[in-house]
Structure formats: C-alpha cells, structure tokens
C-alpha cells in the first residue's frame, strides 16, 4: 500500500506543502518514512532525530494535528486512526520553525530558566555525602523525572496557542512539579512562586498535554499538583487559587457549587461587579437566580467528615 505524506516545508523564507509517496512496510514508523524520503527521494527534506527509541526527544512532529514521536508511532496505526492513506506531517505547534520539521528550542529553554530549574538542596546535604530521601518521598516526583523534553505536550496546548507570553510550556510545569515535590529541596517556594508568576492558574485544563505525552507523564496532573502545593505552602493570593478554594468550600458548605457567589468568591467584590452585564444576561434567561439558595445536602456532616479526614490522612 502506498501512503501519501503531505509535509509542511519551510526553507529559509519559503513555505509550501509537498506531497511524497512511500510504500508502507511492516513496522514502519513516521521517522522511517521520513528517512526513506530523505534517502531515496529528496535529500533536502530536513528533520531531527537521534536515538530512535523514544528517549532523546529529538524527533517529535505533528501528524494530522497531533504531536507524535516520529520514531515511535507506526504509519499503519495512523492510517487506521484517521481512516486515510494520506497523512499530514508538520513541525510541532507552538514552536518557531527553523526549517521544515525542525523547531526552535531556545525560547523554551530561556523560559525554563525562570523557574530556577535545578534542585536547591537542603543545608544538611552536601556534594560529598549526597542527600537522603525516603522511598515514599521519591515516589512523589519520580515519574516527572522521565520527561524527555520532546515538546509534544505544548504542541496542541490551547492556552499556549492563544498566548504563550504569560504561560509556561507544559514540560516546564512538569519540571517545576518535580522540583517542588522533591523532599531534597530546601524551599519549594523558590520554584513555586516563579511558577505562579508564570501563569500557573491560567491553564485551560484542555488535557491536550496529557493526551500527547509519549511517555505518559500527565503534565496536566503536574499542574494540578502545583495547584495543590500552593495551598500546602500558603501561596494562595491569586484569583485562580480563590476560585479553586471557592469550589472546595462550596462542597464543604452545601455539597454543591453555588454559581451566584462564585465570581465574588473568586475575584472579590469589585471585579465581580464588573461582571454585572454577564450576570444580567444570565438572569434574563433564567440561568442565574441570585435569590435561589443552593439546598444543603442532607448528608452534609458526612461529607464534611470526608473532607476533614482526607486532609488529615495526608
């Protein structure tokens, strides 16, 4: 079976889409298809790749709108997924393109520096004697150490696509979560405050990062863990933290969220007042009734006990 790959090309100041055909072979990955095109058809096609075993992160590209590690994903599987013998290959999204499928990592590394990206060990540790850490504490962050910096997570990130200037890349949140959750850190706040300043609460929760991570790392969950850390470490003076806390408190108070109060709880009275036009619109169609009281769940005491006991169990 011949497969058509429509590859987005960029060379110097020219951009175009070029069609290539390759014969589908057993076990053929996107990377092998690209290699074959470069070897047999067009030496000008450029991409980066190194280990071809999903660990160096060099070969991530976007196929039919989703980031993939080229060395890992089978052409055959994509043909099945998209029910099409034509696939579109582009460079990763939310990166500047250097040429063809090669993207620019420098701005990403610059931004990564903002979170103070290395461990700042506690005073009692030393380079001569190393550090100590319990097995349980190690397990709190160990999966995040498996990030290969391939960039797949940011490619389809909805927030980054709209505006990345006030929002870190998902892989940087993963790194931040690793450092904040590492018991060897002398003060996790050193990293956490920087992360809050760099958009921690602006995540749209679209889960694209988690859906696209080839290592199964769940960056969206890392962001959630960082949210949780802001409460544990008392860095909660933000709209995002207020909003999360408001929802939590609603569960505690009635068992259900109270939409009429949410804006005030999250943003404060003044900002909420600015939302009056929205609220009026909601009230007009009967969507928001400021006089309706959310009924209190009959089992509210049991519910409160669950929240309290969970907090104590940690």
């Amino acid at each position: 079976m011949a497969i058509t790959l429509n590859i987005h090309r960029t060379v110097a100041d020219k951009k175009w889409v070029q069609e290539y055909k390759v014969e589908l072979k057993k076990g053929m990955t996107i990377l092998e298809a690209l290699n074959e095109i470069k070897a047999m058809q067009d030496p000008t096609l450029s991409f980066t790749a190194s280990c071809r075993s999903s660990i160096c992160g060099a070969c991530a590209v976007r196929v039919n709108g989703n980031a993939e590690l080229a060395c890992e994903v089978l052409v055959e599987d994509l043909v099945k997924r998209y029910k099409s013998e034509t696939l579109t290959v582009e460079p990763l999204g939310n990166f500047k393109v250097l040429r063809d499928l090669i993207v620019d990592w420098d701005p990403k590394f610059d931004r990564m520096k903002k979170i103070k990206p290395s461990l700042h060990p506690k005073k009692e540790f030393s380079p001569e004697k190393g550090c100590k850490q319990s097995i349980a504490d190690f397990k709190k962050y160990d999966e995040y150490a498996g990030c290969i910096l391939c960039g797949a997570c940011v490619s389809e990130c909805n927030k980054s696509t709209v505006d990345e200037k006030d929002f870190l890349d998902p892989f940087t949140f993963v790194k931040a979560a690793k450092l904040v959750l590492d018991s060897r850190s002398r003060d996790p706040k050193e990293h956490l405050q920087a992360v809050i300043d760099a958009g921690l609460w602006k995540c749209m929760k679209c889960q694209e990062c988690t859906a696209n991570c080839p290592k199964g790392l769940k960056p969206a969950e890392a962001i959630e863990k960082l949210h949780e850390a802001t409460f544990k470490l008392g860095l909660t003076s933000s709209v995002g933290a207020n909003h999360a806390k408001a929802l939590y408190d609603d569960i505690y108070n009635t068992g259900r969220l109270d939409e009429s109060k949410l804006s005030i709880q999250s943003e404060g009275l003044v900002a909420a007042a600015l939302r009056a036009p929205f609220a009026m619109r909601l009230m007009k169609t009967g969507k928001l009734d400021p006089f309706e009281k959310v009924p209190v769940n009959p089992e509210i005491n049991k519910i409160r006990d669950i929240l309290k006991n969970a907090k104590e169990a940690e």
Binding site: N6, H8, A12, D13, K14, K15, W16, K26, G27, E32, A39, D42, P43, T44, T48, S50, C51, R52, S53, I55, C56, G57, A58, V63, G65, E72, L74, T86, T88, E90, L98, R99, D100, I102, D104, W105, F109, K113, K116, P117, S118, L119, P121, F125, P127, E128, K129, G130, C131, K132, Q133, I135, F138, Y141, D142, A145, G146, L149, E156, L179
Partner: protein, 611 residues
C-alpha cells in the same frame, strides 16, 4: 489544499504562509542558539567543549565553577539529545551504601577483568577510587535516584560486577543523567553554542587555535578561538549504520577531528556488539530478555546455545552469545538475508504476566518494529554494535589531556583506557561523569597556565577553506549519493569487520573503505541551501565515519589475537605475549600508521577471563 493540511491547523497554516512570504525576514532574525560574539568570530573561550552528552555537560559544570573561566558547550543538536540518554542500567561506583562489602579494588578488578586486561590499571584504579564520589555529587545536583530504606540511593548489581554498585533511575538512568546536568547548566547559565556542527579543530605547529563549525540555522561557517578544547562527541557505532543500537548522532566526529590534527585513535578495533538487537533496525532489546529466560533459536527451532555454552546457555556473556548467533547465521541456520539476517529470541514459555511486568519495553519494541507479539511468536534478533571502547588517545588520565597541547577528550569518544577490550555494564555513565569532571578541571588549569597560543590567520584560512568546501560539495549535481556510500560502508563494516574477523575479509574491507573514501570526494549532497542543511551535516558525518571505519579495520588487521570485543577467527586465542598492548593509529597526511603502546599493569596480573 484544505484536505492536505490537517484539520486543526488549516487556518493557522494558511495565515503563516502569507506572512512568511511577505516578510521574508528569516536571516535578519537573530537566533540565540549561538552567542553574538561567536557569530562575529570575536569570542575567545578558555574552554570550548564539543558535545553535550554526559561528559560534555559535566565538564562544563566543573569548568564553570571558576567564574573567571569562559566556557561554552558546542553541540550539533540541542543539549538533551545525546547518546547518554539511552543508557539504561545505572552508574557504577563503590559507596558501600547497599553492599557494604564492596571496595574500590573490587570495582577496579571487575573492570580490568571485564576489559580482558587491556585496561590501563592505573587509570582504572583512579576511576574506581573516585566513581563513588560522582554518585554522591549527582545526588546533590538533583539526580532522581531510586532510594533504599535508609534514605540513601539504592545500588543494583549489574552483569560482570561482583557487588551491587550501580545507582540508577528506573531503566532510564542515562536520561536522568542528561536532564539533571542540563538543569544545572541552565541554572548556572552555561553558554551553549547549540545546533552547531564542528568541522575542524584548528591546530598549526602543535598550537591550538580553535574550532571551525557550521551554524546549522544560518549555514554560516564560524570560527571559535579557544585556549582549550574538550572533545566529548560520543561513539562511532553508526559506522555499522543500521546494525547499531547507537543514535544517528554517534558518528565519531571528535575522533575524526582529532585524527586530522595528529591525535591518535587508540584501540579502534575494540567494538562491543550486543547480542540482541532487533533484526529490522538494530534497536536494543534489553539484556533482561535473556536474564528473564528467553531462548535463542535458529531456523530449525534448535536452542543452539547448547553447542556453544552448554552450562550457561543463553546466559553466557555478551561476546560469547554474540559470536554464537553470528556462527549460526553464517552457517546457514539463520533466517532472512544480508544485514537483516537473524535468529529468533523466544519468550513463549515465559508466563504472560512476567512479560507484561518485567519485559514491557521489550514487548513494545518487538510489537512496534517487527510486528511480533512476543507472547505468541519468537522475535527475529541479531547482534548490534553497542559501544566503542576505543577512542581518542588520552595520555594523562588525571587531566584527560591528549598529545596535542590544549586538546582534551572525555566520554565514549575517548580512550583513557578504562574499558580495555570490553566495557562492563554501568561503567559508561560513571566514566562520562568522572572523566567529564576530570577534563573540566584539567582544561581550565591548562588555559590559565598557557593562555591563547593560537593563530588567527590559521583560523581564518580554515574558515575560508570550509566556506569553499560547502559551496563546492553542495553545488554538485551528480555523483554517488551520501546514503549509497553510507550503506556500502555499513555492509563492509558488518560483513568484513563485524562480530567475527579474519585476515582476508579485513583486507577486502580495507580496500572497500579506501574506495569509498575516494568516492566520497565526488559524492552528491543534494541540498545547496544554507538554512539548516541536514544533508550537508550527513555528508560531514559520513566523512568522519569513513575515517573511523578505516582505523577500525586497520586496528583489527594488526591485532592478530582475540580479546574482548575483537574476535579473530584465524587467531581465536588471547595472546598476551604479543598483544597486551594498545593499538595506536595515527593519520599522517592521507596515510594511517599503526603503532603499539604497552598496557599499564599495576595490581592485577593478566589471567584467563572466565565467568
């Protein structure tokens, strides 16, 4: 058009096309992959490190401790794509935290014995004394070690080791090494000269002037003056192209550059072959396949290891298993043909739960690349070039200096020699860290003492020469293609200088490589753009691999014995009387010459290597 562009990005891409064509400002954009002073040619580095794997980054961190030292890492990719990421098992070092009976002497002995006594024992002792310290340092740098009950990192026992001494992160120990070092480099603001392919180390009259490289993004050839250069470019497994577990980037760039300035290539014939690479592409199936009990079968379904190692069967050492597989194939009991000929690795008798639990990666790789579900069918495998014990001749293990003043080497590209004729599992990560650090001390000390002795004229001349080369080779419209030569090289190396070697074949191989070197001079690159020209990069890499290949064969011809990774069919025995020596290959003009240097023996008298 809409059909051709993916659904999600149609609109965005449509806009981008218009914008980019209208603006056309690519070359005005100032990337920061390269510091501005390097672009202009005005930077002068105390320490310029080539390569951003474990050795390169560790060296940079050490050198950067002195704020008066100007240091930078040059890398042809970006800093986290190196072969170091692929290391699985861990890093060896005697600390006694898991096994209190371990001693540096035991580590040294295991290393020397594993290396079939071709190691320099003074260097090995220095290595074993210090490797433990490296593990603690990495802990302080933030390495995510697996822990044991007392809160210390945990160490596991690797093949060929007498004690548990490998600290690790899952089966991704190398990945964690690279990223821990990279985090430190970012935070310490270590200068990166990223996406820059080294073309030449410029030395005139034994005086180092600096490095010539091509900035991949702009295609500009840049000259970087430097007081010292640390070569940390990794191995050369790609000489065997698809029959290697190495990344595409392991093309012996630093070794070739060193050969060209008169630094010899030590023990080039010492190549380690891993017995279980996937037949289709050489990708490594972990050692755990055999340790979990997988059988090796030939095409008749025979467990052929009973002929070669009746006691240990599949659990015999890597080199014995590798040779047995190749014997089966060469005697017609394999399946398939050419570079992809193979035997079977059979897991069907292993319970499915064990496969899922302990051999998850092996299962995934077999399914992905061979389309084989190993719980149902055996998977075709063959040996795959795994590691280069030989490398740039380091003459002082306490500084990593080479023969040319100011030029240092560390990591897989170097030969200190601590691995001798065969490397032990988990010694490579320790080596890159330990000798990266050593070079990171040695080079700045030299820079301070000697200063810049280089010749700007020599640099300018080299720069002009490479600009001319670029224009000339990329302008060609015909000639043998780079990939054609590359595939011929791989076939020559695999069939004439692979797992088994013998005189006639080696001589044929040498002639073939010589012919390829001639053809290389007129080969067709196929891309004349200056913008990220990966075809030109591959051309440079092939040139390097051809030099390396020639040296491998010459070393193999000269070493008329079998030792460690080097197996001569015509000389099947180890010959300590004549070959307890390092092969030293140098390049003089276009000619290679072979010399020998005695191995340093301190404590451990050569003995037969049995396990």
């Amino acid at each position: 058009m809409a059909e051709q562009i993916s659904r999600r990005t149609f609109i965005k891409a449509g806009v981008a096309v218009g914008a980019a064509v209208a603006a056309g400002t690519y070359f005005e954009w100032q990337g920061n992959n390269i510091p501005a002073a390097v672009q202009k040619g005005t930077a002068l580095y105390d320490v310029l490190i080539i390569g951003s794997g474990g050795a390169g980054m560790r060296a940079a961190l050490e050198a950067a401790k002195d704020k008066n030292i100007k240091v930078a890492i040059m890398t042809k990719l970006i800093p986290t794509r190196s072969a170091t990421t692929m290391a699985q098992g861990g890093m060896n070092g005697c600390t006694g935290v898991t096994d209190s009976k371990d001693t540096p002497e035991s580590h040294a002995f295991d290393t020397v014995k594993g290396g079939d006594y071709l190691c320099d024992q003074d260097a090995v002792e220095y290595f074993a004394e210090n490797a433990g310290k490296i593990i603690y340092e990495m802990d302080y740098y933030g390495y995510p070690y697996h822990r044991q009950e007392d809160g210390s990192f945990h160490q596991r026992k690797m093949g060929g080791s007498s004690h548990a001494r490998a600290a690790y992160y899952a089966d991704e120990s190398g990945l964690a090494t690279v990223h821990t070092l990279f985090e430190q480099c970012l935070e310490q603001n270590v200068e990166m000269i990223s996406e820059c392919q080294m073309l030449e180390i410029v030395v005139k009259d034994e005086k180092l002037s600096g490095v010539i490289a091509v900035d991949m993004r702009s295609g500009n050839i840049v000259s970087v003056p430097a007081k010292t250069v640390i070569v940390a470019t990794g191995g050369y497994g790609r000489a065997y192209w698809i029959r290697t577990t190495n990344p595409y980037s392991s093309t012996g760039d630093g070794i070739a550059a060193c050969l060209n300035i008169g630094v010899p290539f030590k023990d080039p014939e010492m190549v380690q072959f891993h017995p279980t690479g996937l037949a289709i592409n050489g990708v490594l199936l972990s050692e755990s396949s055999r340790s979990e009990g997988a059988y090796l079968l030939n095409k008749n379904g025979e467990r052929f290891m009973k002929k070669y190692a009746p006691d240990k069967m599949e659990l015999a050492t890597r080199d014995i298993v590798a040779r047995s597989i190749e014997t089966e194939i060469s005697e017609g009991r394999g399946i398939g043909e050419g570079l992809n000929a193979a035997v079977y690795l059979d897991f069907r008798h292993i319970p499915k739960e064990i496969i899922k639990e302990r051999l998850g990666q092996v299962y995934d790789l077999s399914l992905r690349f061979e389309g084989v579900d190993i719980t149902e069918k055996p998977v075709p495998i063959r040996c795959s070039c795994h590691y280069s014990m030989g490398g740039i001749d380091v003459i002082d293990y306490k500084t990593c200096a080479t023969k040319v003043p100011g030029v240092f080497a560390a990591g897989e590209c170097s030969c200190v020699s601590i691995h001798g004729a065969n490397r032990l599992g988990a010694n490579s990560l320790s080596e890159v860290l330990m000798f990266g650090k050593t070079a990171g001390i040695g080079a700045p000390a030299y820079a301070k003492k000697v200063g810049y002795v280089g010749d700007k004229e020599a640099l300018n001349a080299a720069l002009a020469k490479w600009n001319k080369t670029f224009e000339e080779v990329t302008a060609r419209t015909s000639g043998p293609r780079v990939v054609e030569l590359r595939d011929k090289m791989a076939a020559s190396m695999w069939f004439k200088a692979g797992v088994y070697r013998e005189e006639n074949q080696l001589q044929e191989g040498l002639k073939e490589i010589d012919d390829l070197i001639k053809e290389y001079k007129i080969c067709y690159v196929g891309d004349a753009s200056r913008n990220y020209n990966t075809a030109f990069m591959n051309y440079i890499e092939l040139g390097n691999l051809l030099l390396v290949s020639k040296a491998i064969i010459m070393g193999a011809i000269a070493r008329k014995e079998s030792r460690g990774g080097h197996s001569r069919k015509d000389f099947p025995k180890r010959d300590d009387k004549n070959f307890l020596k390092h092969t030293i290959i140098s390049k003089v003009g276009d000619e290679f010459k072979t010399e020998y240097r005695d191995v340093v023996i301190t404590k451990f008298k050569p003995a037969e290597r049995t396990y």
